[in-house]
Structure formats: C-alpha cells, structure tokens
C-alpha cells in the first residue's frame, strides 16, 4: 500500500465510523479502545464507553494498557464491577461490542482458544476472556481481523465466540438474544456485513487501492459479493491527527 496511513490507522478509523452517537460501546484493549475514543472525539461525543472490569464512562487521559487498568476509571461516571458491566450487556444496554480473533468463519464465529485439537493444542491462545460474552450479549458486534486464507477459515479449530453459528436462524435457536450478532467485520483489505437471511459474510466495501479479487482470494471460504461494492473512505487528516493524541506513546498507532 502506498497510501499515507498505516493499516492500524485505517482499521481504527473504519471501526470508529461504524460507532454511533448516543449509543453504548463495550471496548477491549488495543484497536477497539482507540476506535471508541476516536469516535467520541470526531462524531460521537455522547457515546458511552464501558469496560468489562467495571469502568463506565471514563474521560480517558491516555490509552489504558488493560481493560482493568485505573485509566479506565479516570474521571469516569462510575468505577463498578464486572457483574454490572456484563449484566448491562445481558439486559440490553450495550449497543456495540468489539471482537477479534485468530480465526473467523463465514458466519462470523471466532476462535481465540486453540489452534489444533483442544486436548493437544498446537498453539494455546488466551481463551474467551470477555469475548464470548460480548459476542453473545451485545446488540451488534464489530469484528476486527487480519485477513488471509488461514485466518478466514473454512472451518474453525474451536468456536470460542458465537457469530451466527451455522447461519440462518441457528443463533437465535441456540438461545442467544434475539436480533444480536456480528454487524461488521473489518480487515486490512475490506469491510464486510452479513446477508440477512443466510447470515453469510458479504463484502460491504473494499479499502482504497484493494481489488475485489484480492479480498476474495485472501479467504478460506466464499464471500458473497453484491453489485457495485463501494470503496471505504480513507482516513482523514483530522482523524490521523487525533489518533496521535489518543495514543501518544505508540502502543497501537505508530508515531508520526
């Protein structure tokens, strides 16, 4: 890519634009936190940020390292508990949640537990953490993923976090909250949504300079392609400048 922004900057800006003002977003460490903070500073000043360890509505001075770190309660409206944060999600107060993973499938199911068999793993990953809860309980989840043929997998080694399970109505039939589920997937190549009936992943926009063909070839499963796929708006100078202020030490966003 010859553009004057990095992949992480593109992911952060694209994710932040999915967020809406006057909504509640559950954020984790890294890019999700940055996307949330960027949205608040650019177009969603009245969006409430909640951290799973209990930080509610902080005015974050510098990027927290952990979702339980004291930066998550800096000038917050409440320093609460995991029970409160997770109950907010289960009872319908959380509009957006962020997820990521080592593998994703065509229905937006995610693996963050193991590569290889569970009993005898090739690579042991951290496990669910709060991901299963976010993916199960938030109204809409935003999935940020590095895309290649292995990560966009035909079959997951382990379903840690539910997307639309086996597609169609299977998510609701399993008992997960009605109307909830993956909303957008954002990779370094493109953004995706889910076709409403089959719940299969569908191309939503391609990032500047990326061919549709490249997106499709960088996946282990078939991605639905509607007619006339638009190009993702590139990051603006205002957004890029703001990202430098949000992450001044360069935890996720490279220093310019």
């Amino acid at each position: 890519m010859t553009a004057d922004y990095t992949t992480n900057e593109l992911l952060a800006c694209t994710a932040s634009r999915v967020l809406e003002d006057r909504k509640v977003a559950f954020v984790g460490t890294g890019l999700p936190m940055i996307a949330g903070l960027l949205a608040q500073r650019i177009h969603a000043p009245n969006m409430l940020i909640v951290f799973e360890a209990g930080g509610i509505g902080p005015q974050v001075p510098v990027l927290p390292i952990s979702v339980g770190d004291s930066r998550t309660v800096y000038r917050a409206i409440a320093a609460s508990s995991m029970h409160e944060a997770m109950s907010m999600a289960q009872s319908g107060y959380i509009d957006f949640g962020f997820l990521g993973g080592a593998q994703i499938d065509m229905f937006g199911n995610l693996n963050t537990t193991v590569l290889g068999p569970h009993e005898n793993p090739k690579v042991r990953l951290p496990g669910s953490g709060g991901a299963n809860d976010v993916g199960s309980l938030c109204h809409r989840s935003i999935l940020i993923m590095r895309q290649d043929k292995r990560k966009f997998a035909g079959k997951l080694d382990f379903i840690t976090t539910p997307g639309y399970l086996r597609g169609g109505n299977s998510r609701y039939e399993a008992g997960l909250p009605a109307g909830s589920g993956p909303f957008r997937v954002i990779s370094q190549l493109a953004m995706f949504d889910f076709e409403p009936v089959s719940k299969r992943m569908r191309l939503y926009s391609v990032h500047p300079g990326v061919e549709v063909k490249t997106v499709l070839e960088s996946s282990g499963f078939d991605i639905l392609v509607p007619d006339g796929v638009p190009t993702t708006e590139p990051p603006t100078k205002k957004e890029l400048d703001m990202l430098q202020l949000i992450d001044p030490v360069g935890m996720v966003i490279a220093k310019r």
């Binding site: 339980g68 004291s70 953490g129 399993a174």
Partner: protein
C-alpha cells in the same frame, strides 16, 4: 430436561447444603484480629492441590506478595481459576505450582502479547486445561456461590465450543421456553485479594473497579487479604459504605506495602513494565525462568527484600508518578508495537 452438557471438569462445586454446613462450622463470626505474615498465611491456608482464585484483573491489583510466597514454599498441583489470570498464573506455572487451569483468559498479557511460559506449559502438556468458560461466566459462577445457589442462568456461551468444554449445562427455560445456559456455582478453596487498606479484622476498602472481587470474596471458603496499609477500625466505621469485604469473610490479613508490584495498584502505583518485560523475555526458556525465580523469589527472603532488589522506594516513587500522570509510561514492548 437437559439439552446439552459441557464436558469440562466441574471444578470447585459443592452441594449448597454441604457448603452452608461448612460455612457454619468454619467461618469466623467474631471480630478477631487476623494479622499474620505471608509465610504463615500460605502455610496455613494454601495447601498443595487446592483450588485457588486470585483477586484483581490481569496485571491490576494482584497479590504478588502471596504469589511469590506460594512459589517460595514450593506449592504443588494447584488448580487455578483462570478468571483473567495473567501475571499471577504465569509465575505460578513458572514456579511449577499449578498443573490444572479452568480458563476464561490465561496465557497472554493483553496488549503485551502472548505469554511464552504459560503457552509452552500447555503445549507441552505440563499444565492441563480442565475446562473453558467466559469471563462473565466465571464471575457468575462466583455470584451463584455468593448467593448460596447451585447454579445461575446466563444467555452467554450458548452454541459454542466454549460451552461444550465448560462445566455448564443447557436446559429449556421453564418461563420463556428458550434454551438457557446454567453455570454451576464455584467455591474456591482459597482466594487471595489485594486491597489498598483494611483493618486488623479484615474489613476492606477497595479503590477503583471491583472487577469480580465482591463476588469472589463471598464465594471462596478461605480468604486471604493482603493490604497496602492497615487502618484502624474507627476509620472503617467513619465511612462504612466504603467497606467492600467485611471481616467475617476473611481468614487472614497480611500487611504488605507495594504488595502488587510489578502489577498496578490503582491510584497508587503503575505497572512496572521493565520488570514485566524482563519476565516475558526470561520466561521464553526454562533456564531463563529459573534465573528469574533464583533472583527475585528464592534469592529474596521476603517481599520487602524483593522490593529492595527491584529498586526500592526510588523505583516505587517513579511508578507512582506514572500512575498519577506526572510522568509518561515507558515499556520495552512498545518498540514492537504501532508499526505496519
């Protein structure tokens, strides 16, 4: 009717009547002084093979004083609650104290990356993951225990392998008719929670988020508190609304200033990223892990001695400055970030 049964090991469950009886017979009802040392608290309340849960979250407000002491006393075969267990479990695995884990989140250090030591132990089969669960799931297991119930329902985990490898069960909810996941209560044999201040009886105040320590304190059979500072009972009674853990839940109180280092103590001192970085680098090999343990755990006689080794008051003042935003953070792992 049971629709699905998780195949994970059922860790730390007791019949509610059996646990009531245990509480009746064993928990202190009178306000007695519980001040003791880290050495005695581990010797008395952390036996080999116990089911252990640590308070705090990741690298935040973790009782490292008790972790180092468990390693120093060479505890074995501990089953650990991986309820976002990060630095604590990494060191206990490095010290060969833990051989089984129920995992919500473990073997990684959030933004800092995956844990070389913990991962290697699981991949080589030295540590066995006996069950999977989610963070909310673990915390609600403690809530069920706090409430004295056999289980608590949740709408999370349904339809996934996380549930399939957990100890939860799915039934048809008799009210809504929809499938619902039942999480079994979890009563850790012992929990260790680090707090900013408490009195000599164990009445504790906590600054910042509680994470799941409110529920965990009430679920655990034995509870060890380590505190930055011991305050008078009068101070506790001045603002009783600040008491998050009352004395009758507490079995031992250990006073240890800086007892969470190298983890963060909210509003007091920041993560010691240099030290965490040193551990992450050394724990890539068994030899490095031994080197770390020899220098910081077996090479120090107690936690005050350890604090001297890591740089003493001067170092802790520096970390207090970062915590209070008077000084920017630095971290060895930062140079690998932000690229691309």
């Amino acid at each position: 009717m049971i629709l699905q049964e998780g195949k994970g090991e059922l860790v730390g469950w007791h019949d509610p009547d059996e646990n009531r009886k245990w509480v009746e017979a064993n928990k202190p009802r009178d306000m007695t002084k519980k001040i003791t040392t880290a050495q005695e608290a581990v010797a008395k309340f952390v036996p080999d093979g116990c089911y252990l849960a640590m308070g705090g979250f990741g690298h935040v407000r973790v009782s490292m004083v008790m972790i180092y002491e468990m390693i120093r006393q060479r505890r074995k075969n501990i089953i650990m609650a991986g309820k976002t267990a990060v630095h604590d479990i990494d060191l206990l695995i490095g010290g060969s104290c833990v051989d089984r884990v129920e995992v919500a989140y473990a073997f990684a250090h959030e933004l800092r990356g995956l844990s070389p030591g913990g991962r290697r132990a699981v991949e080589e089969g030295r540590v066995k993951v006996v069950a999977e669960i989610s963070n909310a799931g673990y915390q609600w297991r403690f809530l069920a225990a706090q409430m004295g119930l056999p289980f608590i329902p949740t709408r999370a985990m349904l339809g996934t392998d996380t549930l399939e490898k957990s100890s939860a069960k799915v039934i048809k909810d008799p009210f809504s008719g929809k499938p619902i996941c039942l999480l079994p209560a979890a009563y850790p044999d012992v929990a260790v929670i680090h707090v900013p201040r408490c009195d000599e009886f164990g009445n504790c105040q906590i600054d910042g988020t509680l994470v799941e320590d409110f529920e965990l304190a009430r679920a655990a059979r034995r509870l060890i508190i380590s505190a930055e500072e011991i305050i008078s009972n009068d101070k506790i009674r001045e603002k009783p609304w600040l008491t998050k853990i009352p004395y009758f839940l507490v079995d031992a109180v250990v006073e240890q200033k800086y007892g969470s280092h190298p983890c963060q103590m909210p509003m007091e001192y920041f993560f010691d990223e240099e030290h965490i970085g040193e551990w992450l680098a050394l724990s890539k090999s068994d030899e490095g892990t031994r080197q770390y343990m020899d220098k910081y755990v077996f090479g120090t006689k107690d936690f005050d001695d350890y604090i001297r080794v890591i740089g003493g008051e001067a170092k802790m003042r520096e970390l207090a400055d970062v915590e209070h935003l008077r000084r920017p953070m630095t971290a060895p792992w930062l140079k690998n970030k932000g690229g691309e």
